[in-house]
Amino acid sequence: MNNREKNDPGKGVSPKAIIEAALFLAGDPVAKDELLDLTGLPESQLDSVLADLKEDLSEEERGLKLFENDGLYSLKIKRELLERVKYLAPHRDMSKGVLRTLSVIAYNSPVLQKEIVEIRGNGAYDHIDKLIDRNFVKSEQEGRTKLLSVTGYFLDYFELNSLDELRKGEHAPERLSN
């Protein structure tokens, strides 16, 4: 029995409503396969419904946006609203340690892994693995160490056009490491 059969909402329920409900409830990104299973739609129709939902949410009076990353879909608060409402959800989607490691990589990207470990300590290995798993960071072999850099997903997540926007913009920390 698949999820659609288990949770069959009955006839007349809009696939867009099902997707919206699923993404709202899940919090974590939901795989496209899961959405196919939930709605019972063929992939082409699901793509069309997702595009429709994305367009709906892009309206100025809507507070959420549809976010896609590598076949995973989620609903996020629009960046311009986040500062205003963030106190209502004090838990971030990554731990303090992982966020610090990500920040050091981001402000120095591309950067050697050994330099990150020197700054952040041995726990950075675990943080880097998590960041690579979540597609925030990519790594390339560079001699005996790895060269780390942020991904396009990182830019999408923080709604940045480039890293320069982060380093030189209003959100740049007072002191950047060398």
Partner: protein, 262 residues
């Protein structure tokens, strides 16, 4: 009030007399109210219907009789109160048997209670996992914090190196002689190994602390460099296995070896 309801009274579909405006205007309005509350069955009276009747009457009076309208409100509230008290009585029967009887049939009205262990289908509201996106300011703050932590650590290490107080785990000064510690560990390895082919690193620890693990590992490396043991690790981060070197002294030769070491 024995003479209530009087002849010619209007009755509801369930046979309860309708409270008329005339009743409430009479000098016996309190007794009538008592009859509703205690003699009549409050469950059979629809407060909604009664209120609607009163409302129509009030519209005709055009708000000129405040005392009557107050009595109307009081009548409705008394009957509502009587209903509520009836509910409390049903929820707290004195006899346990009475409770079971009520629970099985009359109170809930579910036939399922009579024949099977019926569990009401309660829906618990789903709670959303409310983790939110990180803001750019938080990313920036995280960077500042990371650099601060790094700076503080560097400063601390620098100070400790300057005054020689930094504990690298290799500073055995003021402690027992290193050779004594190595011999003690070597004896322990031989005792454990004598019961099997190798001994797990964790079985050599006296306590489960980082410091103890580090010191024991350092001592094992000394023993390995002296050709007394071999440390093996099948996979990164897996448990270290410690074996005695083939030409290392067997347990029976222990004392002689130790004397030579000394």
């Amino acid at each position: 009030m024995e003479d209530y309801p009087k002849e010619g009274s209007e009755f509801t579909r369930s046979g309860i007399p309708v409270v008329s405006v005339e009743d409430l205007n009479s000098s016996k309005w309190r007794e009538i109210l008592d009859w509703y509350a205690y003699s009549g069955d409050p469950w059979e009276i629809s407060v909604v219907e009664m209120a609607q009747t009163f409302q129509k009457e009030l519209e005709n009076l055009d708000g000129k009789n405040l005392e009557l309208s107050g009595r109307m409100v009081l009548t409705c509230s008394v009957i509502l109160r009587a209903k509520a008290e009836g509910l409390i009585d049903k929820e707290q029967p004195e006899e346990e048997d009475q409770l079971e009887e009520d629970f099985d049939s009359d109170y809930w009205g579910y036939e399922e209670f009579e024949n099977e262990k019926y569990i009401p289908d309660l829906e618990i509201p789903l709670k959303r996992i409310n983790k939110r996106t990180v803001t750019r300011d938080e990313l920036s703050d995280a960077f500042t914090n990371a650099v601060d932590v790094y700076d503080r650590r560097e400063e601390r290490w620098s100070t400790e190196e300057e005054d020689g107080s930094r504990d690298w785990g290799l500073n055995f000064q003021g402690e027992e002689n290193l050779q004594v510690k190595l011999q003690r560990l070597y004896r322990k390895v031989k005792e454990k190994v004598s019961r099997g082919k190798e001994v797990l690193f964790s079985r050599l620890l006296n306590e489960d602390t980082k410091e103890e693990k580090f010191r024991t590992f350092m001592e094992l490396l000394h023993l390995q460099s002296e050709g007394k043991v071999i440390c093996k690790q099948e996979e990164p981060f897996s448990e270290i296995e410690v074996e005695l070197m083939e030409d290392s002294p067997q347990p029976g030769q222990r004392e002689e070896t130790e004397r030579q070491d000394e």
